[in-house]
Symmetry: C2
Subunit: 500 residues, 2 copies
Amino acid sequence: MASVLLARQVTLNLQQNTRLLVPCVRYVSQAAAKKNVDFEYDGPLMKTEVPGPRSKELIKQLSKIQNSEAVHFFCNYEESRGNYLVDVDGNRMLDLYSQISSIPIGYNHPALIKVLQQPQNLSSFVNRPALGILPPENFTEKLEDSLLSIGPKGLRQVITMSCGSCSNENAFKLIFMWYRNKERGPTGVTKEELDSCMINQLPGCPDYSILSFMGGFHGRTMGCLATTHSKAIHKLDVPSFDWPIAPFPRLKYPLEQFVKENQDEEARCLEEVEDLIVKYRKKKKTVAGIVVEPIQSEGGDNHASDDFFRKLRDIARKHGCAFLVDEVQTGGGSTGKFWAHEHWGMDDPADVVTFSKKMITGGFFHKEELRPDAPYRIFNTWLGDPSKNLLLAEVLNVIKREDLLSNTVQAGKALHDGLLDFQARYPHLVSRARGRGTFCSFDAPSDAIRNQIILQARNKGIVLGGCGDKSIRFRPTLVFKEHHAHLFLNIFNDILADFK
Amino acid sequence: MASVLLARQVTLNLQQNTRLLVPCVRYVSQAAAKKNVDFEYDGPLMKTEVPGPRSKELIKQLSKIQNSEAVHFFCNYEESRGNYLVDVDGNRMLDLYSQISSIPIGYNHPALIKVLQQPQNLSSFVNRPALGILPPENFTEKLEDSLLSIGPKGLRQVITMSCGSCSNENAFKLIFMWYRNKERGPTGVTKEELDSCMINQLPGCPDYSILSFMGGFHGRTMGCLATTHSKAIHKLDVPSFDWPIAPFPRLKYPLEQFVKENQDEEARCLEEVEDLIVKYRKKKKTVAGIVVEPIQSEGGDNHASDDFFRKLRDIARKHGCAFLVDEVQTGGGSTGKFWAHEHWGMDDPADVVTFSKKMITGGFFHKEELRPDAPYRIFNTWLGDPSKNLLLAEVLNVIKREDLLSNTVQAGKALHDGLLDFQARYPHLVSRARGRGTFCSFDAPSDAIRNQIILQARNKGIVLGGCGDKSIRFRPTLVFKEHHAHLFLNIFNDILADFK
């Protein structure tokens, strides 16, 4: 298969397409894009506007069976490669969004193709077990080799789940159970608790809460959604819980010019966190846990200082709340460390860390102290998927072998420097350039202009994503290299220079 | 691979194992088990108690990284075949539980192995897209060929999800949105709604409810969990919603002896449903939808008559509530029809039908009327998984080609007849034998005896599952044939005859 792909790619590269739309290079950047000769394409190649005629036809077909208004275009995944996403009209785009940040090492990575081709792996793909009761022989070993080999320091317990929402939902439940057991002390569960929980009532279903932040996103199932506050479209019309919501710092950029203001802003938010914990305890809606993203992603790539998170962690500890770090989007290496919270430089940064997306499988790490005290408390039919663990193990091999975290630091620096440069040269279009590793973003002046920039970029062969009110977020894969950053910057410079 | 498997199987079959524990056949049943010569094993083969020494060692290892008390034993999925599950100690068991009812056509089905081996399918397994924004070219076509080819009558809209809980959570959200839009009428969403929903408050997050039944199970995430009332262990310590819970009929068996009593019992439950709808409307917790399983599975295989469901559907319609039929466990063919609710014989049985487990992918069908009115309302990163759709399409081909629904009716009759016979001969051990297709069950006299029967059966090479307080449920695959039923009945007869 890999050789077939390669042959096709060579043919494609040889076809001189007369409608090539790659813009001329005007940007004062590094040398022209280098080629990953053995695997990847050498640049975008555009044949039509996007979505093209074939995508439009397919969107129309899909809309007969479901709302398809969110579809950007239809893809040819067979022909996509590395950082390049190919659509059904033959357009080839440099992908800096990577399926909402969920593709770790690019499209059709040969190492993953090989996993599929090895006969000993077939069984994992065709026999999906109920992992909680009948795991496969290599289950623990695969978890040790993969997830636990990159687990956050101090969190040696791990449970897998099928997606990000399920990961956060079950992490919340873990926290509620732990908190209730703390309160209960050595006395066991009462009959009243067992009876009342069956009908959703106190004391069996306690009125605990999870404190979250305005602008946060933790998923869309009903528990998660009660802690999600990024966009109204996610929440409208869905019943919710009265849980405390703290303000998240709104930092001013450039950071070095607003040191005092930003410190005050963070102090204000932390004070509000403590006030809410006290207030909700009085309301008898005790805060059992605090959930936070290291960088609020869906909500607009909102950063806070490492100091903010250290202090937040201390507040959680002081008030006996579990501290849950949601690394569904930030985890997996794109900030330059495997977990974004590792940047905080703490010995004890979290009680629970959730993941999904680039990790291929959902799930969470947690401290021994939070371990479920009985079987079937944190449970469902599948509890993840061994075939995803298999793919993840190989992804981690590639990350280690190719030192992709260092790569991400390097590519991220080029990307971030480029954005800072744009900010200086196009201040009417680019502001608040920010980021860690390749996990970068900037603000456009408005929602409308942001969306227009994304569309123009797409037609020039660059896939970008929006977030928050008016931000553009960069979420390339871990095989996004410095030369891809320069290629992007060259093309994007033209877009900004010509933007009307 | 298939040939390698076959070669191994032949070798295994030729090995005369001296510790063979298959019991002698005393039961007055059909001829000895037939052999699926080309694919399957010819019977259980036990070498150790289960869990055996290797399983015990692996359970100990796993328990270092997670609570492993629910693990029955570790499996060798490579060697498992058809209806036979092989464990890591070399024990081969006839599996009538099929991974909590989630394996549709047996282990290592050659047709599924072939799907994995076809080069054109590799891309689906290594490139998991964000389906809601960037679907693959064949996405609609695969949905048409697979899910929509077996969709319930009248439900032509479909959305895929990653698991059963996410399916129900999103079905609830769909219902809430639809209900709110009905109430709202032609006036649009207000600013107050948009603002208040961001902080979990009215009117943006309305106080709607979903009516569920005592004994029901609809998943374990927080929305689902508020409608789950099967076991306290699922719900204890988790905050919940004050939503109405109706009694589910507790039928007396044999049904033909208790016609009047059961009619009265069903009428009582239906009356309570209407009362609760009225009561919760007054409490301003309007019932937007009713969720029900066609057979309450986790809660104890509780059945109600087709007439009960027809009347329940009418009540939902009368009060303007959506009617959600949860077919996560009952769907996929094991009742003898593809969807258990098809037995009710109605033109308009449901507004939404959820599925997962045997369907390989989670998701739900729904009426056009409930279609989301805007993009991103029912959405998440993955929205299912095209590689699972691919496997499902092949599963459906096999079901159609091999007429597995008819097979299930036939095997189910043999199984059910056998259970009725046991009930007559061992009334101190077997009561309330019931079922549709192979979706059968009976009650043991107590929790303790039920669990002991399951353990003894396992050591004789039969995997069974419990449900409810003291029931044993049968959830074989769709390739479970009449001869498997007789093989099981023969072995199980010995267990019951010797039971102490």
